[in-house]
């Protein structure tokens, strides 16, 4: 049927009257056997999220760059990550207590909505405090919920003391 007179411009579709009928029959049968073959095969659909054999999170590669996570216990508030981020999605505020001469982190926000998962903030971190997880399901009802606040507003957290040994370890761990 696909081989009719008006398709003469298409090479290979030319032919005699009965030749075209033969072509049509053969090509239709060929096509129908291909589709029936696929009908008999297993579909390749992965039924994310609820009907996968393993949760998709567990099947991700080890160095997968997912949503950033921060370990406040090791963060030294060196601001290296804030400086490294090319789009400025990390906002850190550090205040110095005038009497005790101690520094405190009053704000550590990572705007996941802006983050492009480049990993540039992870590399310079001396203690490996900031790192990627394999978390990738970030959907929320409002984009502002994507700003991860690691210091609850109104609180202040004492940063960790930088240690020489940890610095090397962090280098070995990498991103």
């Amino acid at each position: 049927m696909a081989t009719t007179a008006s398709t003469d411009a298409v090479p290979g579709f030319r032919g005699t009257y009965f030749g075209r009928i033969k072509n049509a029959i053969i090509s239709i049968m060929e096509g129908m056997s291909v589709t029936l073959g696929y009908l008999l095969q297993r579909p390749i659909t992965i039924q994310y999220p609820d009907r996968t054999p393993k949760p998709v999170k567990d099947t991700l590669p080890e160095r997968y760059r997912g949503i950033l996570e921060l370990d406040m216990k090791t963060c030294t508030a060196c601001l290296a990550c804030e400086r490294a981020c090319p789009i400025g999605c990390i906002k850190i505020e550090v205040v110095k207590d005038k009497e005790t001469k101690k520094r405190y982190i009053t704000r550590f926000d990572i705007d996941i909505a802006k983050c492009m998962y480049c990993g540039l903030c992870v590399d310079p971190c001396p203690g490996g405090a900031i790192r990627h997880t394999n978390e990738f399901e970030g959907s929320t009802s409002d984009v502002q919920y994507l700003v991860r606040r690691f210091v609850p507003p109104g609180e202040r957290i004492e940063p960790a003391k930088p240690k020489k040994k940890e610095k090397e370890e962090a280098g070995a761990e990498g991103s």
């Binding site: 049927m1 696909a2 239709i28 291909v34 297993r42 659909t45």
Partner: protein, 404 residues
């Protein structure tokens, strides 16, 4: 149907006081409603789900499988959704025609069920002009489609309606002409007579009766697809060109009516093909008595089962064709009809007449049906071989379990 009415009136004396016409009318309405609710609606709904599942598997997807077990209730969800939608009428539409059109399409489709047989004695009305009635009444669908296309006041709808009219009117000719050989062989237009003239075994079917009916079978089947606006002849509703064709402007329940008619039409195409060419409800007598001897003789359960099974298989083939072949262009569609089908169907009629005369003179020709049956058997065999080859080449594995 008349016999049934007689029977009911005879057994319920109080009905005899009411004029017979009214009683008949009420009984007819009752059975039409039953038919609509328990067969047409169910069939159309479930087929819409089956079609999407089959389409999914053909395209290596799964298809709807969330609503109910394996997505089986998807069609109810879809129907409910459309029920709750606004019934929208465009401001510039011809309101009366616009509102009426879906019902005409639906009525044209549903009226065909009057003569669609389900089994021996299971037919709403065994009209003596059965197949002629089908051809006549199904033309009502064109009117409805053209009405909807015209009244929508939308160029996509109008184009769709026009194309549909051109298509259905063109394909009516080869389809009617392809039916003629069968009528010649039967000598009757009644659906049950046509079925009775065939036998239970494939080589007794009209499709394999002689080379001309063999060709007529394919012409009828393909032409019926075109009349039902099914792919590869879905030019009137070509999604990629015309948004949705003649039903672009419809929403809510009226849209459902169009789709309802379309899916119910699948069954009509299949049932008519089975009636005319594939032996209808004929079952070998011994199967009948052995398996269903317990049941009353007048209820041909095995026959009904066989008939519906054949029809459902053809419905599957139609779905399979839809998800295989691309849509034809308008000129190609017309070419297929006028350059290929019409001459061939004329040749079929003449050929069948000559065959009938010759077969009387030379009974040897009766054996041709066995040869044709073997030829017909080659088609599934060839497809099976091609599939095996494709599987071997692609190193894929068969996965038959449809429940994923």
């Amino acid at each position: 149907m008349e016999r049934l009415a007689d029977y009911i009136v005879y057994n319920l004396p109080f009905l005899q006081q009411i004029p017979r016409v009214i009683v008949d009318l009420i009984i007819m309405l009752f059975f039409a409603t039953c038919m609509l609710l328990f067969w047409v609606a169910l069939f159309a709904g479930i087929t819409s789900w089956v079609e999407r599942r089959v389409a999914g598997r053909i395209q290596s997807r799964i298809g709807p499988n969330r609503v109910g077990p394996q997505g089986f209730l998807q069609w109810i969800a879809d129907g409910l959704k459309c029920f709750l939608k606004e019934d929208f009428v465009p401001a510039a539409a011809d309101k009366k025609l616009f509102l009426l059109a879906p019902y005409i399409v639906f009525a044209g489709m549903f009226a065909v069920f009057v003569v669609v047989p389900f089994g021996d004695g299971l037919i709403i009305s065994n009209l003596n002009i059965g197949i002629f009635y089908v051809l006549a009444i199904s033309s009502l669908v064109v009117v409805g489609i053209l009405m909807s296309g015209w009244s929508s006041n939308n160029k996509w709808s109008l184009l769709g309606g026009m194309r549909s009219a051109a298509q259905i009117v063109s394909y009516e000719i080869p389809v009617s002409l392809a039916i003629l050989p069968v009528i010649l062989l039967t000598g009757s237009l009644g659906m049950q007579d046509i079925i009775r003239a065939q036998g239970p075994y494939p080589w007794q079917w009209f499709a394999f009766h002689n080379p001309f009916t063999f060709i007529a079978f394919f012409i009828f089947f393909i032409g019926a697809l075109a009349e039902g606006n099914r792919t590869p002849f879905d030019i009137p509703e070509a999604e990629s060109e015309l948004v949705a064709g003649y039903n672009t402007e419809y929403s809510g329940m009226r849209f459902v009516f169009f789709f309802f008619a379309e899916w119910a039409n699948l069954y009509i195409i299949a049932a008519l093909t089975v009636t005319l060419f594939l032996g209808g409800w004929n079952t070998p007598a011994h199967l009948y008595t052995n398996l269903f001897g317990l049941l009353h003789r007048s209820v041909d359960v095995a026959g009904t089962f066989v008939f519906i099974l054949k029809s459902l298989f053809l419905v599957f083939v139609i779905i399979w064709i839809r998800w295989t072949l691309p849509r034809l262009r308008v000129d190609q569609m017309m070419d297929v009809c006028w350059k290929y089908f019409v001459p061939f169907s004329f040749a079929n009629i003449v050929g069948t007449i000559i065959w009938m005369v010759l077969a009387d003179a030379a009974p040897v020709l009766g054996y041709v049906r066995y040869i044709l049956f073997v030829v017909g058997l080659m088609v599934p065999l060839a497809i099976a071989m091609k599939i095996t080859r494709n599987f071997r080449l692609a190193k894929s594995e068969i996965h038959l379990n449809p429940f994923i």
